[in-house]
Amino acid sequence: MRWVEEFRDPRAIRALADALAAATTRPWTIMEVCGGQTHTIVRWSLPDLLPPAIELIHGPGCPVCVTPIAAVDQARALALRGDVTLATFGDMVRVPGSAGDLLSARAEGADVRVVSSPLDALALARARRDRTLVMFAVGFETTAPATAAAIELAAREGLDNFAVLAAHVRVPPAAAMILGDPARRVQGLLAAGHVCAVVGTEEYPALCERFAAPIVVTGFEPVDLLAGLLACVRQLEAGRAELEIQYRRAVRPEGNPAARAAIARVFAVADAPWRGLGVVAGGGLRIRDALARFDAARRFDLAPLAAAAAAEDARCRASAVLRGLLRPPQCPEFAAGCTPERPLGAPMVSSEGACAAYYRYARRHESA
């Protein structure tokens, strides 16, 4: 088992594409929730292999993209205080806020560091006890365990110069919101494999039943995506609406109990604003009161994100892209006024953003 090559095997891809064509008798609209899956779909030109009756809609599953602009503004303001070192993931430093991105704050003298893990930010806090280190932490249930680990270690070590500006969001409530939309076009969902690897799948059967939609927990390689689509289409064709796990090598129904327990110790479920979707009930995580000293929002008395307004660049159509109403190449600014080098909005910045996926892999379709 080499774990990647087998799931990119051209013969497997062809066999699954043929099986999908044979299984499809009617038009179906299916959303892949996760931006990592969007990248696989676009990179491997999977829509070209699908029967024309199947329409894929790209979901909001890019944590950088759904982070409210107000959160970027708060991070930027903290970075510019002078007494704070702000650490965050590489994708976040180039997301435009109302008054510029975090890189431009660095040009103005702010101490902004790029880290690949909240644990690296914790190491920076250990090394410089005279400065407050704020980790600007975004992400789904996949990154929340790392943030929880950093906060628990900081508590254990008494690292009082460490704090987290947390913009963590939860996927199942957003999936419920998408399926419950009265104008919904989506008939089936491919759920995000790695989110489920952490939190499990216990919340999904109720959603399948309530919204009469099949949900297939799917992996990230082309064979995974096609097998997930095949399972979803077979359910739709048979009139079934059940939870299925395609990505069994990583997803157990109970998820990862140790990681879930850490998330529950550190965070409480809270309503949270998602860019594009608005405030999602139960759609985010807030640091628990017992750990409030590690919460940058409370330490620096920041406004709740749900109440903080921030101006988007009027030219950016990110909200429509994130709701599956607009394909990136349909945006007038795509690859013209908006590129990864000079992005107008987060979906063009992030390694999981739909606009970046089309820019990187599918511009040839547009020039054809």
Binding site: M1, R2, W3, V4, E5, E6, F7, D9, P10, R11, A12, A15, L16, D18, A19, C34, G35, G36, T40, P63, V64, F89, D91, S116, S117, P118, L119, D120, V138, G139, F140, T142, T143, P145, A146, A149, L153, R156, E157, H194, A197, V198, G219, F220, E221, V223, D224, A227, Q246, R248, R249, A250, V251, N256, A258, A259, A262, S350, S351, E352
Partner: protein
């Protein structure tokens, strides 16, 4: 941020506060990973890692079953005349 490629655990050790850490290879790239949530991970296991923390150990038996699904589909189609020769990768 969401690195979807699995990595192989090369070595593991106990860090400060008795937290397990390991060195994980993602192709040619190696990095240190926190194993706090996958304490059962053994050297040689493949792990899913997000932002420096392993979130799950991959199950080889489940992977083989997933691959058997398409192999079954492929076997059903094998009697039909192939439009072009299979690009055998020897992975079956």
């Amino acid at each position: 941020m969401c690195l979807a490629v699995p990595g192989r655990l090369l070595e593991r050790w106990l860090g400060p506060g008795d937290v397990a850490y390991g060195r994980v290879a993602f192709g040619a790239v190696r990095r240190e990973v926190c194993l706090a949530y996958t304490p059962q991970a053994e050297v040689g296991d493949y792990l899913i890692v997000h932002v420096g923390v392993a979130i799950q150990r991959l199950d080889e038996e489940a992977a083989r079953q997933a691959l058997a699904l398409w192999a079954e589909i492929d076997a059903l189609a094998v009697d039909e005349p192939a439009s072009d020769p299979p690009e055998g990768t020897g992975s079956r």
